[in-house]
Symmetry: C2
Subunit: 219 residues, 2 copies
């Protein structure tokens, strides 16, 4: 088929979040080819139309290439485009963000992890992509169970509380938080499982099947 218009380049870029040492972090990749060879950047690559069923599949391929497994949570973020963002030409980058528990990453060797508030300068428009991803994460944290995907499969109420405060960036009342979360069925007790220590044992919870229902709210 003859095309009426020259087509842009199409790629995907991914913002891979994790929480390490109480701190929201991103996984960056060192670029192996020009442009910006040798610099740290968001993991990404061109869409392979032979291989990828859609751009989300391309993002999954990129993520597997980087960390060796699929991210527990993956969502399309935004599509960035224009002539200026990539020196190779007019391009479209479909950006995704993913949440990955740190516990899954410790064994993964090649990952270079940086706190989101201490990132090196990023090439292309990756700074913008990161800004938008952080904004989305914070936004969704206030009305969904999203931050729970940054935790390992089993966690205590306090883990969850901390990670919400982390993600949102404000203090949340313990009692209210507990009440709200438990009222929404997004997590469930794991029967007879507790985390022990030099203190009262803490009930362990896991995400329930309703985990991705947005939290109820009214206008």
């Amino acid at each position: 088929m003859k095309l009426a218009h020259p087509q842009p380049l199409v790629m995907v870029d991914t913002a891979l979040f994790t929480i390490r040492d109480e701190c929201l972090c991103l996984i960056l990749a060192r670029r192996k080819e020009p442009p910006f060879e040798g610099l740290l950047a968001l993991p990404g690559g061109f869409v392979h139309v032979q291989e990828d069923t859609d751009t989300e599949a391309a993002a999954r391929r990129v993520i597997r290439g980087k960390i060796g497994f699929d991210a527990p949570y993956l969502e399309q973020l935004f599509t960035f485009s224009g002539a200026a963002r990539d020196p190779r030409g007019w391009s479209v980058s479909v950006a995704y963000y993913a949440l990955i528990p740190w516990s899954l990453l410790v064994r993964s060797s090649s990952a270079e992890v940086f706190p989101v508030d201490a990132l090196p300068p990023l090439p292309f428009d990756h700074g913008q992509i990161v800004a938008k991803a952080v904004e989305r994460l914070r936004g969704k944290a206030t009305y969904s169970s999203l931050p729970a995907f940054l935790l390992p499969a089993e966690f205590t109420m306090n883990d969850l509380h901390r990670i919400y405060e982390q993600a949102i960036g404000t203090r949340l009342d313990k009692a209210s938080f507990r009440h709200k979360i438990l009222g929404q069925d997004i997590i469930e007790e794991i029967p007879d499982r507790f985390r022990t220590g030099a203190h009262r044992p803490a009930q362990l919870y896991r995400l329930s099947s309703k985990a991705l229902t947005p939290l109820e709210r009214k206008i």
Copy 2:
């Protein structure tokens, strides 16, 4: 530059909302060329890399071509992609949605307007795009001033109340709604301007500069 990979087609599609006769509607365009020539579909087209600075500019161009002016509210919705969605080949469609007061459209001749719950069957994956756009609109209505963009520049509290109920699809208490909205500074009284009729005159309001701040809420 030599490309390692064949590139997908890149287009934009737009879901143009308006409210006519108390009913949420979409503007559709009759396709002038294959594929699906003659059918009603979302207004859209290929990105023109010479002409468009980015995909949003392409969307604006498409919208201007359809209604003759820029939409008061335009937002990127989602990017749809894959080999199957368009018979011409592996394609990427960056979808946008826009809100347009009906009062601006009455003079615009060519627009064909259909209630969202009585649309004709749509080609490509436009059904999916519409579903996602409606979902986004309803979602944002519950925590932002978005629905106000479906109203003309001056409106009464009751207009706003009705359009929120319309957009969200549920009943909202008058007094609470009024209180909530006024507490958030998203609209402001127009001094000494009232809509009169066979009843007590109604204060006219307009969107304030803070209009797009999301409504406050807690977790």
